[in-house]
């Protein structure tokens, strides 16, 4: 039975995240971006909202079960506040969710509770590589069997909080397929390189990481000896990326709407001009449409529908273009003022282009 209505529980969570996004993240957004520095107390506060904890069953230290739909609703609201901080809050999910989705029973029991039961810590994952046509299903990084170990070689980029990481899932190619490996803290052969300087998300610490002959025991392969299916993990990354894009784009849309109701030109509010009004109408339509695409894809993930992979991809595909279109137009609506860093729209526009690259930086 079709329904577009979140449950009571989801609504309560969304309300809490909304307050956090509006009262904590948004006021800190500009300074964090200028200083390339997140306020980690705020990240901890976001962690304590318990979005990830609620996705993990009690036996592994959490208090709920995974719902991509719920996480999507939360991610949307959070990204409305600030994208960089949202990605930081969600970073430990990059470690926990693959374990939850694809880990063996032992892996889950051993590795999830220390993350979930503690304060926010830099548990992370390394997927992206330095290639213009980076393909998560065709990695350059390799993992080779050697006795009772896998040896990982390669270089990863855009790894959140790699500096001082507590634990990391590294994706590497095995028999032509993408497989995850748990790499423990300070493992030999792991070199954290320089922090990226990017077009957007300045506040989020993302690093290059080299893996040179990194030996991990065979038990550290996600899913054990048999390995795992990467599709649900990648699909979750796509959906998360789409949800964040929707939330942040909605922020840009709302800002532009408010501005268009106030600013006057030629004796009327600029919003009374069709050239502006139509842009806004199209922006609103796209935000709502991609939002529904994302909800449906998340729902398919939760239900394990046959076509979850395709729908997650379509949501991501739609979100990439929607975010660029909406954030670009938000700057346009503000004219020259949009170009000035006193308004947030230029920040959103720089972040907006990022969704074409960010799949892999968050999961739901």
């Amino acid at each position: 039975m079709y329904s577009f209505e979140p449950s009571e529980e989801q609504r309560m969570l969304v309300d809490a995240v909304k307050r956090y996004a509006a009262n904590d993240l948004r006021p800190a957004m500009r300074d964090a971006d200028e200083e390339a520095q997140l306020n980690m107390d705020l990240v901890e506060k976001g962690w304590e909202l318990g979005i990830l904890q609620a996705s993990v069953p009690e036996e592994y230290g959490g208090f709920g079960e995974r719902s991509a739909v719920t996480s999507v609703l939360a991610a949307e609201e959070m990204a409305w506040g600030d994208l960089a901080a949202s990605l930081a809050v969600m970073t430990p999910g990059l470690y926990v969710l693959p374990l939850l989705l694809a880990g063996t029973e032992e892996q889950k029991q051993e590795l999830i509770p220390p993350v979930i039961e503690a304060e926010w810590k830099p548990y992370t994952a390394a997927l992206l590589e330095w290639k213009f046509d980076f393909d998560a299903n065709d990695l350059q990084t390799t993992a080779q069997e050697d006795g009772d170990a896998y040896v990982i070689n390669g270089e990863k980029v855009y790894v959140p909080f790699a500096d001082g990481y507590e634990g990391m899932i590294v994706y590497a190619k095995v028999d032509g397929k993408t497989q995850g490996f748990v790499v423990p803290k300070a493992a030999a052969g792991v070199t954290v390189g320089e922090r990226h300087k990017l077009l957007g998300v300045h506040a989020l610490p993302l690093y290059r990481v080299k893996f040179e002959g990194v030996r991990v025991p065979k038990e550290n392969r996600l899913g054990g000896a048999a390995g795992h299916d990467f599709a649900p993990i990648l699909a979750s990354m796509w959906v998360a990326n789409a949800a964040l894009a929707v939330g942040m784009s909605r922020a840009a849309l709302e800002y532009a709407i408010d501005y268009a109701k106030e600013r006057e030109a030629f004796g009327v509010k600029i919003g009374q001009k069709q050239a502006i009004a139509f842009m806004l109408a199209e922006m609103a339509t796209e935000v709502e449409g991609v939002r529904l695409l994302t909800w449906e894809a998340a729902w398919k993930l939760d239900k394990g529908k046959d076509d979850f992979y395709k729908h997650a991809y379509l949501a991501h595909n739609g979100a990439v273009d929607m975010a660029m279109m909406v954030t670009d137009r938000a700057v346009q609506v503000l004219g020259g003022h949009g170009y000035i860093r006193e308004h947030p729209v230029e920040l959103w526009m720089r972040n907006g282009r990022g969704f074409a690259t960010f799949a892999g930086l968050a999961m739901v």
Partner: protein
Amino acid sequence: MIDFEMPEVIAKQQYLLKTVADNMMRPVSRYYDEHEHEIPWDYIEFMHTAMKASGAGSLAPSEGGEKKEKKDRPRIGYQMLAFMIEMLSWGDAGMYLVTPGGGLGAAAVEATGTPEQKRRFLERFKKEKPAFAAMAMTEPCCGSDTAAIRTTAVLDKETNEWVLNGEKIFVTAGDKSLTPYEQLEPGFVVVWATIDPKAGRAGIRPFVVEAGTPGVKVTKLEHKMGIRVSDTAAIVLQNARIPFDNILGSPEVITDKKTSKGFKGAMSTFNATRPLVSASAMGVARATLELLKEMLKQEGVEIRYGLPRAKMTNIEREVIDMETMLREAWLLVLKAVWLADQRQPNALTASMSKVKAGEVVTKITQKAVELMGPLGYSRDFLLEKWFRDAKINDIFEGTGQINRLIVARQILGFHGAQLR
């Protein structure tokens, strides 16, 4: 709880209509495209019989959807309609418009009529023979600017009749609603006219004009780019007299020239019917995308999902973008009809769905013809026909621009005078 599971009754209905589309529509699609103004009687009679048997009687968005729905069950009437219309339009969007049962005319009666009027005007759709109804708003002077229509309705106090004068154009199914074909029950047209030309939109009211009313004439059938099997009629009203209580709605409110309730009635009709027009567009778009993928497959081209854009072929990129926009538009339609079923305000979502659907169906059909090259442009395939059929969806039930205006007014909180 957010849920995207299709109710079983809808799945069943969809399955049935797929058979209709495959067997009754697709095989004659090309024929009727090439024989404009011929009437597909087989289809009309089949659909009438089938709908009567299922107790539906009408494809109009009826409150009647509820009649069969038990009180304790969730309402899904509009959702069901959206799926049915999508599937029939997947078969042939023009023929869908030739489905008997009242279309936009019955929808207007449903949205604005009193219970007595609903009974009086809608019972014909359950009779032995099929019947049609139409809705006439547009005039030569004005389409988008509905408040400027010039057809007048003057009350003749002596006979207690309304006297209508004016000209309506582009009336979908106007011919089948008014012309006395022996295969059909007499139909009606809901004519929008002003009771006070100086009052602008406040003066506009809907009137039911029955087939056979003296002074009402179908003067022209248009020759069109697409949806050719659907008749588009011009109607002249010359001192056409209709009974007083053929004015839709309760007479006290409706004859009070100071309120614009009558006009608002028209607008509420559109909130109900807009997502359904969008649903029809979705059917054409899906048909196109499916055929395109099938033709590509025959040429050895399979679409791979999940690649980075830098690794896709151009065709993959185009097809995946088309699939994305189609799904997006469809979910907007679904949300709009779901809101209608929930009796929640849906004007914003309805217009969003229309904006998106009109754009998506034109883009997809245009791209498909482009991508298939000489094959796409050829009348050997239906792609070129769907290209022609598609365009109307960005025009009727409010053009793309008009629906953008409605969305913009809603999100900006402006009224019509502030943003026109």
